[in-house]
């Protein structure tokens, strides 16, 4: 099956497969970063591959290596009952194409990878933090993020701005904030 998949990939684009990686049981391909979306499109739409299910998308931080981040795609073909793992290397500060328009399921896992590793997915419609709050500094799953790092305090966010018109009764906290009392 792996040979067939590789053949299909080579048919559409030359040299996208940088190599095969030995892994127990699972077949694993290293893909060139810039072509990842085209590869995924082929893998999903080509009936010979038919990887309709994006099982998981994650990232491994290889701190100290040239291309630091390794984005890992776990694919599954229900019709062929076959698992395939794709890997693509992303250097720090560069971006990789999003696959969220191939599988919509990638929308939120890519957000998580962005949140945890700071990998930029180009073309993602809403690349915001998903697990952490917006003011979080750094990316928690990077290897250079210390386990017990403390985060700075975040100023209190109000869902509603206190209104000025008299019948609106401010809560005690809103009034305090209006008067600038709780800026610590």
């Amino acid at each position: 099956m792996l040979a067939k998949v590789v053949a299909e990939l080579e048919k559409t684009a030359k040299d996208v497969v940088l190599g095969q990686i030995e892994a127990p049981d699972d077949d694993c391909l290293m893909i060139e970063r810039s072509r990842i979306k085209a590869v995924c499109r082929v893998l999903k739409d080509n009936p010979a591959c038919d990887f309709k299910l994006l099982v998981d998308l994650t990232c491994v931080d290889w701190l100290g290596q040239d291309e630091r981040f390794e984005v890992v795609y776990q694919l599954y073909s229900i019709t062929h009952n076959y698992r395939l793992r794709l890997k693509a290397r992303v250097p720090e500060g560069e971006s990789i194409d999003t696959v969220s328009d191939v599988w919509r399921g990638a929308l939120h896992v890519e957000r998580e990878v962005y949140d945890m590793f700071g990998v930029d997915f180009a073309g993602h419609p809403k690349l915001t933090r998903i697990l952490m709050y917006d003011e979080f500094e750094g990316h928690a799953l990077r290897k250079d993020y210390p386990l017990k790092k403390h985060q700075p305090r975040v100023p209190l966010r109000w869902p509603i701005e206190p209104k000025d018109d008299p019948p609106y009764n401010w809560t005690r906290f809103q009034r305090a904030r209006k008067l600038g009392l709780d800026d610590d």
Partner: protein
């Protein structure tokens, strides 16, 4: 047609959409999750899910513990089926290390993960029924679940956080009289499930609430990355136990129920049937489980018996090495997935060699379901949020890890 009379004194009441936040603290959001909902009357116009209230840095912590210690974190992912998570994580590590388990350990993993499937489905069905107002059925099913937890209590000493698995086997063997307990508890579970069927399955109110609500099509479900009962309710029979049998699932007979419409009622029926099938698997497994040990006899992987540790220097050293440094796993990566009660629960483990993982990634089973929840309820009524959210079985601990 004449213009309606406009009284300048009368201020027009706003009829635009109302923003309402369901959660983070809301009786129907079983974890802590916030649904920013836009309502037009009672109809849901738009919804956005925001999560992150329960993030506990599971993956980060895993990188700083040895392979065996991480098992207690996996307990706390989907806490309704902790044993299945333990076994899945350990099987991923064993796959990476190339360890072949003895048959009894594999059978035992099947047994505990099927037991936890029954417990998980009981919880899920019970909770979603409770939110529909049927508190009585909730307590019936929870009573059955409690009995299953008591079996786990006897196996491993804790009701909820089992930690039954280790690298290279199981930490505990089945106890004497396990078969009798299973027989008694399954009889009880079936009794309570029958009561649930009587009170729910043919109940007109329940049927109307569940049928054709929270519908998702098969193509959408696959595209979103749904697995488990929610995917099977759409008609796609993807079940890893059948597709790629792991452990000893190829030696037992069971059916994979699928639905037709992909709605809440199908999901409910599938869960009820899967419990029946899980009990069937356990009953077969009890007949087929061989005698022997539940761990590999490799002191580099699994701690030697206490007799060895106390009486032989070899055993002592191995014990010390395993406790202090953890089992040494060769470099590489592996992905191992089980059909957890909620869907495909996979672990992607990366090792640099050594006693600690370089990276552990747990596939959050309910995350696709939760994040695409708006697609399932848009256009339906606010009351439909409740059974739909119950039927996707969002578990906060697993969603945000």
């Amino acid at each position: 047609m004449s213009e309606p009379r406009q009284d300048p004194q009368v201020k027009r009441l706003p009829d635009d959409v109302m923003d309402i936040q369901l959660g983070p603290s809301h009786p129907a959001m079983h974890g802590i999750i916030k649904l920013d909902t836009k309502l037009s009357g009672e109809t849901v116009v738009d919804m956005e899910v925001s999560m992150g209230y329960l993030h506990r840095a599971f993956e980060k912590m895993c990188e700083h513990r040895d392979w065996n210690q991480n098992v207690v974190f996996t307990d706390r992912l989907n806490y309704c089926s902790a044993a299945a998570n333990n076994c899945a994580y350990m099987s991923a590590v064993e796959k990476l290390a190339g360890i072949e388990l003895p048959a009894r350990a594999q059978w035992m993993r099947v047994i505990v993960s099927e037991l936890s499937r029954v417990a998980d489905h009981l919880t899920c069905v019970a909770a979603s029924v409770m939110e529909l107002g049927g508190l009585s059925v909730y307590l019936y099913l929870i009573e059955a679940r409690e009995e299953i937890y008591m079996i786990f209590d006897k196996i491993c000493g804790s009701r909820l956080t089992h930690s039954v698995a280790r690298v290279g086997g199981m930490a505990y063997d089945l106890y004497d009289g396990f078969e009798d307990d299973i027989e008694r508890v399954f009889a009880l579970t079936r009794k309570f499930m029958d009561q649930g069927h009587v009170m729910l399955t043919r109940n007109r109110i329940f049927y109307d609430r569940m049928r054709d609500t929270g519908t998702v099509s098969e193509a959408d479900a696959i595209d979103f990355g749904f697995t488990g009962p929610v995917l099977r309710s759409t008609g796609c029979a993807y079940d890893i136990r059948k597709a790629m049998p792991y452990w000893t699932y190829d030696q037992v007979e069971f059916d994979v129920p699928t639905g037709e419409r992909g709605d809440n009622y199908d999901r409910y029926l599938i869960r009820m049937e899967e419990m029946e099938q899980a009990m069937r698997i356990v009953e077969q497994a009890i007949e087929k489980i061989p005698e022997g040990d539940v761990f590999v006899h490799d002191y580099k992987i699994f701690v030697p018996p206490k007799k060895e540790t106390y009486n032989h220097i070899e055993g002592l050293i191995h014990h010390f090495e395993l406790v202090m440094n953890g089992p040494q796993i060769k470099a590489g990566d592996a992905y191992f997935a089980i059909e957890s009660p909620n869907g495909e629960h996979g672990y992607y483990v990366v090792s640099e060699g050594g006693g600690m993982p370089y990276r552990v990634r747990a596939r959050p089973t309910c995350m696709p379901m939760t994040m695409f929840f708006p697609e399932m309820v848009k256009g339906s009524m606010i009351a439909d949020i409740i059974p739909t959210f119950g039927s996707i079985n969002m578990i906060g601990g697993e969603l945000e890890r």
